[in-house]
């Protein structure tokens, strides 16, 4: 379990699959994702088994401090040689949108990425119309790196995909580290 301020991140379990299915079948949630086909229970079960034991991707369930499961986030394509990973987040329970849970969960994930996994760079992709997502990522410290023009077809038109990134050095600057650790040693 990785503890944030308003959220905590735990490993996902097979028992989470029905919740994933409900979230990823919700058109409002789906519209911001790259998933095309409606997911099935059977398909999600196969996905779950595949990601188990894959060292290059890790998915974590997001819970509130009270233990309510509200979403999922994780790293995909961790590149250990270049210390770089992509990340993604979904708050599936819409009643928890716009209250800072996603921001807190991502901040918790980034702290883990830089303090524990020793990553150098964490990036994400987001549709340019996903303003809620972009605002959250900017707040967390992601910087805009580029716009992949017309790289996705959805809703009857081609849309742009944005690439946003946090580098370890930027993160450390923002979060006053390792000064804290050094102080503990004194």
């Amino acid at each position: 379990m990785i503890i944030g301020e308003k959220t905590r991140l735990r490993a996902i379990e097979r028992s989470d699959i029905p919740a994933f299915l409900r979230w990823f079948n919700d058109p409002e949630v789906r519209s911001n994702l790259t998933a095309t086909w409606p997911p099935s229970q059977a398909g999600e079960e196969i996905w779950f088994e595949k990601q188990l034991g894959d060292e290059n991707r890790h998915n974590l369930a997001i819970e509130t401090a009270e233990g309510v499961r509200i979403g999922v986030l994780g790293f995909h394509e961790i590149d250990w040689k270049n210390r770089c990973a992509g990340c993604g987040i979904v708050i599936g329970e819409k009643s928890f949108w716009d209250q800072g849970y996603g921001t807190d969960a991502l901040q918790t994930l980034l702290r883990f990425a830089f303090d524990e996994l020793n990553l150098h760079r964490v990036f994400l992709h987001v549709f340019d119309f996903n303003e809620r997502g972009i605002r959250c990522y900017e707040k967390v410290g992601f910087q805009h790196e580029g716009r992949l023009r017309q790289s996705r077809f959805t809703g009857g038109r081609y849309v742009d995909d944005l690439v946003m990134t946090v580098l370890r050095d930027d993160w450390l600057e923002q979060h006053d580290w390792p000064a804290q650790g050094a102080r503990d040693d004194d």
Binding site: H120, F123, E145, S151, V163
Partner: protein
């Protein structure tokens, strides 16, 4: 076989494998690619068999009109739903660098991608220090879309990777497809065919 002006693109064969192993063990070439481990004949044989059944990519050998193999190029991550693919090119026989062969080959591939495969966008990834390649891509009409800061670690430091993209409408409207090769003599050098062993 796809015909360019001074080159042609053909499918790779098992008999090309020793040549690929020679090419992709050349340090001067590798520094432009997202490959860093020495490559074995066995690994390359395995890659060859895997790509035969992989419809998400296509690899071509670039030959001069006289039939001399000088490099290869590929489309990868072909995504028909979104009308996208990545491309990568390497001119591996050094005497053929800087003579317009890479530009010709890439132009031939782009015509195929947009006019036969019905793609909407082709992108590529290139290290920011690979100026020769970037110049070639710009000439063909690729636009700069992103700079991935510190995305690769090589030669003791982190380097930036650029993403460049070209849309079909730009290709059809652009100068890139009509550039006269030879006199301007700029060539595609190497861009990282990220994620495959070509």
């Amino acid at each position: 076989m796809l015909l360019g002006e001074r080159i042609r693109l053909r499918a790779p064969e098992r008999s090309d494998i020793p040549m690929f192993v020679r090419w992709f063990n050349d340090p001067e070439l590798l520094r432009y690619l997202a490959m860093y481990l020495p490559m074995s004949q066995a690994a390359e044989e395995q890659w060859f068999e895997a790509q035969l059944n992989d419809s998400s990519g296509h690899v071509f050998v670039i030959e001069t009109s006289e039939g001399v193999p000088i490099g290869n190029l590929d489309l990868f991550d072909i995504d028909s739903k979104n009308g996208q693919a990545g491309c990568g090119i390497s001119i591996c026989e050094k005497p053929y660098l800087n003579q317009g062969y890479g530009t010709d080959a890439l132009r031939t591939l782009l015509n195929f991608a947009f006019r036969e495969m019905n793609l909407h966008r082709v992108f590529l990834q290139v290290f920011d220090f690979n100026e020769r390649a970037i110049g070639c891509y710009e000439k063909l009409g690729f636009r700069h879309e992103a700079r991935l800061r510190d995305a690769h670690f090589l030669e003791g430091r982190y380097v930036d990777e650029l993403i460049m993209g070209l849309l079909r409408e730009e290709w059809e409207a652009g100068e890139g497809r009509g550039v006269v090769v030879g006199r301007q003599a700029t060539t595609a050098a190497q861009s990282p065919p990220v994620g495959d062993g070509t």
